[in-house]
Amino acid sequence: MNTIVSITAVSESKDKAEKAIKAAFDEINKIQKLTDFYSGKSEISLINKNAGVSPVKVSGTVIEILEKALDVSEKTKGSFDITIGAISSLYDFSKNIKPSNKEILKRLKYVNYKNIIIDRKNQTVFLKKKGMLIDTGGITKGYASDKAAEVLKINGIKSGIIAVGGEIHAFGTNPDNKLWKIGIKDPDPNSEENDIIAAIELSDSSISTSGDYQRFFILDGKKYHHILDPKTGMPADLCRSVTVIGKENSMTDALATGIFVLGPEEGIKILKENGLNGVIIDKKNNLIITPELDKKIEFTSNCSKYNKS
Amino acid sequence: MKLTQLQNKYQIALLSAFAIGIHSIENLLPSPIPWLRFGFANIITLIALYIYGFRAAFTVTLIRTFISSLINGTFPGPAYLMSLGGGIAATISMWLIIYLIPHLFSAVGISVIGAFFHNTIQIFIAYLLLIQCLEPVILVSPLIILAGTIAGTINGIVAEFVIANLKNQLKPT
């Protein structure tokens, strides 16, 4: 996975923990191989190559990821959409390349999650239009951490925490027998790597954050970041940072992206509808949290930059 | 007369040496709050006071604080002034109580009184020289005085023990 993966297992036996962690890493690598957008050999690439041509037989893992992705697409009215691959592949955030508006418009017709056809019985996936590209980058990290947690549990680990990039899945308690404490990154571009705006205690939960500070470049004075609005193909600009807390990390990962695109009002509504919690910093630096979080969140002085409502 | 004077000088030197030794070793021990110490050297002051009187005790205190601060490298800084002020306050207060109301307190009570004035004066000097902010001083004072009371009690018991044994030895044979 194109990111830092860290796995912590709490166990009375070092051997047991090491064995479990190794198995969890293997699981993450397996998922990475199946879903790598850039590899050409991955099942996702196979699906993309056969877009508009034929259904592709894939593993249960890929079917599961795609189904979870479609579920979030439904929940966010298409604001999270893995078919954004057709457009996101035009951007290059390491080389500061932004496609022209014409190119974006031309490809916008390939972006629609409803054109992904999953056949559960035959375990096949088909993209209806030629030119469609699916990129599961917005959900695989979360999914991988969920699976890694499962593997740890199967190996007899009662407490652990997995961070695939910033996607975190925690279960049990931390080594001090307390709830896991997770910091939320300060989205301020001038902040340091480990600056946090708040910390939240959780257990048997997942937490994910999408922010405009993660991957971006500045071109002609405008900031282009990696979270694209599937409806326009342009970087979404209603939020600066969205954190979602829930049971499954695949869900929180994808939902954080979807809500980032949807904006704060709709976002809080969706969180409430689905019984989830979250922290949103919108483009006007308003800091909004779901009511339930009020007692569980501990702010740092870094959040003095933001207007708490 | 000459002989007793000589003897006194010898005893003051001996007591001072003990006090310096104790004081210096105590300074090497780790402490949760800076300048929170057990004050074992006060045992020597107390013994000197009971057996040789105020002049001896006062001299021992002056010598002890001076030489110890030279050893610890704190002369003539605030730490030395605190140590000196505390030592003098303890010696005078203990002597006054013994002199004015001789049999009300045992050495244990006297030791506690000495510790109390020692700490109070030290806090006051620290406030003047180092901190100059009332709030932390007020907050930490009860803690220091409490610790001083406990340490003073223990010191008093030790002093009582030594005094009793010394008095036995010093009895004219």
């Binding site: 896991w180 939320i184 990154k185 946090i196 910390a199 002085s301 | 907050l139 409490l146 009371t149």
Partner: protein, 129 residues
């Protein structure tokens, strides 16, 4: 003479004195903790080190030596502000009076925080980003 005898030899006044001091100190500790616990304090950091803790309730003016030079802050009416700073952009001064949160002058590396400044202060297990 043993410990038992020494304890028996202590006078009534000894015991009353010790008991009184202990109770007195304990009640003071409890009393002060109640009074001071909610009182906001200003923590001032220079180049990563805490250099002053001041009361927000006392009017004050303080000079802090930072990386570039002297920063002057003023505490008045339970608020704090930067009066002068050797930094170029003077963002810290422009922030004006504050009664909560913190004022940070990055160029001079001076942080004034009302309440404790918790940068890494909260111990966390992971960061979501």
């Amino acid at each position: 003479m043993n410990l038992h005898q020494i304890v028996r030899n202590t006078t009534k006044a000894d015991r009353i004195l010790i008991l009184f001091l202990i109770i007195f100190c304990f009640s003071l500790i409890i009393f002060f903790n109640r009074i001071f616990s909610n009182k906001p304090s200003i923590h001032i950091y220079s180049e990563g080190k805490e250099v002053y803790i001041l009361s927000l309730n006392e009017n004050n003016q303080v000079n802090i030596k930072g990386r570039l030079g002297i920063t002057t802050i003023e505490i008045k009416d339970k608020k704090v502000r930067f009066i002068s700073s050797p930094c170029k952009n003077k963002l810290c001064i422009k922030q004006g009076w504050k009664d909560s949160g913190s004022i940070i002058c990055l160029p001079n590396n001076v942080i004034v925080s009302i309440g404790e400044y918790r940068k890494g202060g909260i111990e966390i297990d992971a960061i979501t980003k």
